[in-house]
Assembly symmetry: C2
Homo-oligomer: 210 residues x 2
C-alpha cells in the first residue's frame, strides 16, 4: 500500500481497514491477531482486506506506516516562527501527539512501541522505523541548524543534539506506556527545556549558563 497512488476512495477504504486493525489489536493483541479479527471490526466485507493486502504481515507493515504518517503529518509550524518556538512545538507534538476521534495518541503509540521492540527480528519493520527515526531526528536537526545560522543558538553539533532529543522523547513515551509513568512526557518536556534548550539559546531569558 502506498499513500501516493490510488484514488481517494481507495485511500478511504484503506483508512477503514487501518482503524479496524486498531480495534482488532485492542481486542486480541498483536501476537494473537488474525485477519478475520480485523474483518469482524468493520462493515466492509473481508474480501476487501484480501484485495488490498497479501496477508497479515503486509497489512501490519502498512498499519505501521499508517500510524507513523499520522504522527509525522501532525506537526504544522509556521515558516516565520523563531527556532526556539518551532523546536518546542516539534518536541511537544512528538511527546503528546495529535488528537484523534476514536483512538488516542497513546493507543497508537502502544502499538508503535510494541512493533518497535519486535523490529529487532524484522528487517522490513526495522527499515520503516529507521526511516521514521531519521525524519524525526532530521526535523529537529534542521531547526537547530537554522537557529545556529540565525545566531540565536550556540554552535553545537546539531546531529548529536537531534539524536539526544529524539532519544529522550522516545524513552519518555516508553516509560508512560510500559511503566505507567503518566507524567513522563511532561517531565521529559521540562528536562529537555531546562538542560538542552536553555543552554542552547544565546541571550535568552532562560539562559542560566551565560
Amino acid at each position: 500500500m502506498s499513500e501516493s497512488d490510488g484514488s481517494a476512495s481507495e485511500r478511504d477504504t484503506e483508512a477503514v481497514i487501518m482503524e479496524a486493525t486498531f480495534r482488532a489489536l485492542r481486542e486480541h493483541g498483536y501476537a494473537d491477531l488474525r485477519m478475520r479479527h480485523i474483518g469482524e471490526e468493520m462493515e466492509l466485507t473481508r474480501q476487501v482486506i484480501h484485495y488490498h493486502f497479501e496477508g497479515k504481515y503486509d497489512l501490519l507493515s502498512s498499519f505501521l506506516e499508517y500510524v507513523i504518517d499520522q504522527y509525522e503529518g501532525s506537526v504544522d509550524v509556521d515558516r516565520d516562527t523563531d527556532p526556539r518556538t518551532e523546536l518546542e512545538a516539534r518536541i511537544d507534538q512528538c511527546l503528546f501527539g495529535p488528537e484523534f476521534e476514536e483512538f488516542t495518541h497513546w493507543d497508537r503509540m502502544k502499538v508503535y512501541h510494541e512493533l518497535y521492540t519486535y523490529a529487532q527480528n524484522d528487517e522490513q519493520h526495522r527499515e520503516i522505523f529507521n526511516e521514521h527515526y531519521e525524519r524525526i531526528r532530521g526535523s529537529i536537526v534542521e531547526v537547530v541548524e537554522d537557529g545556529i545560522k540565525q545566531g540565536v543558538f550556540r554552535d553545537v553539533d546539531a546531529e548529536r543534539m537531534g539524536q539526544l532529543v529524539t532519544d529522550a522523547i522516545h524513552a519518555a513515551r516508553g516509560r508512560r506506556i510500559s511503566l505507567g509513568h503518566d507524567d513522563a512526557p511532561e517531565e521529559a518536556r521540562r528536562a529537555i527545556h531546562e538542560f538542552i534548550l536553555d543552554p542552547l539559546c544565546i541571550d535568552a531569558e532562560g539562559d542560566r549558563y551565560s
Copy 2:
C-alpha cells in the same frame, strides 16, 4: 526466588537455571518458550526447575530480577572518586554493561527490553522494572546532588537530570537493539557529555557555557 535467602548451593542451582533460560530464549523466543525448553538446556533434571519455580511466569519474573541484579551489581565506584568521574562511570556501565562469559550484555539487554515492552500488561513485571528504574535514576541523582554539595556542579534539579540521563541511556540501548544502530550507545555517551555533563560542571575544562 530471593537473593537474600537460600544457601550458596541453592543460589548456584538458580544461576544454572537462569543461564539455561538465556539459551532457551535465544533458541525459542519469549512467546514460544516452554519450561521443557529450559530443561533441555541444562544438565540438571527438569524436576529441579519445578522445585524452584511454580511455573513459567514465576521463572520469568525471577529471570528478570536476575538480569537486573547482574546489571545493577556491576557498577563499582571508589568512594573518593570526584562526582563527574563517578557520573561518567555509572553512565558508561548502563550504556555498555559488564562483560560476561557466555551471553553478552546485549543478549541480556534484548530480553530486558522485550520484557519491558510486555510490562504494560503485566503488573508484577512492571513493579520490578519500576523498582529498577528508581534505583538506576536514584544512583545518578545521588551523584548529581553530591556534586552540587561539593560545589563542582551547578545547582540543578537533580531528580529531573537523573530522569533525563536514564531516559537517554534507555533509548540508546533500545535503538541499538531494535534499529541496529550499533553506535547508539557511544553516540549517546558523547551527547550526554556534551549537552548535559559539560554545562553541569562549574569551571571545568569542558565547560563551554561559562
